[in-house]
């Protein structure tokens, strides 16, 4: 009798807990927002780039020069991600482009939901270029799709050649690498060919442009790459949204 009641008790304890199968990607929510952003961007023919790099690679200077070089020939807007301050958005606005600053606070990356909200606030034009400057960080932004057409990774020659090997996720996720500050090469021991070889080990399909925001080297190629992307995005816009 006593044995039976003990057994019954054990059974009750087991039955209170159950196993629920989820099989869900942790990034599923972010990926859902990213897909919504991508649908919106493609419906309006907008070419979006997610610019990623370490802090201090010269991203903002390069963006300012890019905006000045496009000189009103291409409608564009900029989303700036930083943990703190409005400084970068102010620099972009001074160059003549609408910019919205997202302060992530303690966060180390932009996510697709933040970018979706920023896109709505900016009121993007049809067939425009959207430049998203991510938080300076070569690790975390790699995992978060924002809905962009391409991630563009910026590596400056004042960093180490082996950065692509040390931070492979970002170089693997990117489609274009801008090797920046190339005007400084004569003063450095940086081996540009080796850096590019390392980047290609991680991602053989990675396109590379050697560039300098200061001397202007590579700017023509970079602007051409942007214009081609904008043309393709505008041409791929579904007929329905033309009306």
């Amino acid at each position: 009798m006593r044995f039976r009641s003990h057994e019954a008790k054990a059974e009750t304890a087991v039955s209170t807990s159950r196993i629920v199968k989820l099989e869900q990607d942790i990034l599923a929510k972010n990926n859902g927002y990213a897909e919504a952003n991508r649908r919106y961007l493609s419906a309006y023919g907008i070419f979006a780039l997610n610019l990623v790099s370490s802090p201090g690679s010269g991203k903002t200077t390069l963006l300012v020069k890019t905006i000045l070089a496009l000189n009103g020939t291409q409608p564009l807007a900029v989303i700036e991600g930083d943990q703190q301050t409005e400084n970068d958005a102010a620099r972009i606005r001074a160059a003549g482009a609408p910019a919205l600053q997202i302060n992530t606070g303690k966060g180390c990356h932009l996510d697709a939901q933040m970018v979706g909200q920023a896109m709505q606030q900016l009121g993007l034009q049809d067939d425009s270029l959207l430049l998203i400057e991510n938080v300076g960080n070569l690790v975390c932004p790699a995992s978060f799709d924002l809905g962009e057409a391409h991630k563009v990774v910026i590596l400056s020659v004042t960093e180490g050649e082996d950065k692509p090997l040390k931070y492979p996720d970002m170089f693997s996720a990117a489609d274009l690498m801008l090797l920046n500050k190339c005007d400084l090469l004569p003063h450095l021991e940086f081996d540009a060919d080796l850096a590019i070889e390392y980047a290609h080990r991680i991602n053989p399909r990675l396109q590379v442009i050697r560039i300098s925001a200061i001397s202007g080297e590579g700017m023509t190629e970079w602007l051409e790459w942007i214009r081609e992307g904008c043309c393709n995005a505008a041409a791929a816009k579904p007929e329905a949204s033309l009306g």
Binding site: L22, Q24, I26, D111, S143, F144, P164, S172, R201
Partner: protein, 113 residues
């Protein structure tokens, strides 16, 4: 430290499941993490402990199942275990390697009541 956001995303998945499937406490979470996923397990454990405080998953046990990285060579089509993104194909030496597995992060199942 994007592990904190990942932990928040995990909690959201769990809370959504709780709403749909009607459970009120989570005792164990089985999480599958690929060897090539960009995540630091100890940071994720820490983040999970922090974000689950006061939630239905407070003090839940986090069981991490690591899955091996898998690659496939674009040149010779060989499939092989891939421990890091910078590794070359062991058969032909090419770096044209495509990741075919072990780069995801999934909540597999939960023990709930």
């Amino acid at each position: 430290m994007h592990e904190m956001s990942l932990a928040e995303n995990m909690l959201q998945l769990i809370e959504d499941a709780a709403y749909q499937q009607g459970f009120t406490r989570v005792k164990t979470v089985w999480l599958e993490i690929g060897q090539l996923a960009c995540v630091e397990q100890e940071s994720l454990r820490f983040g999970f402990d922090v974000v689950t405080r006061g939630s239905i998953a407070e003090q839940a046990r986090l069981e991490i199942i690591e899955t091996a990285g898998q690659g496939r060579c674009g040149k010779c089509a060989q499939s092989f275990p891939l421990a890091a993104l910078y590794e070359s194909c062991p058969a032909c030496g090419s770096y044209d390697v495509k990741v075919t597995g072990g780069d995801g992060m999934r909540v597999k199942e939960l023990e709930v009541e």
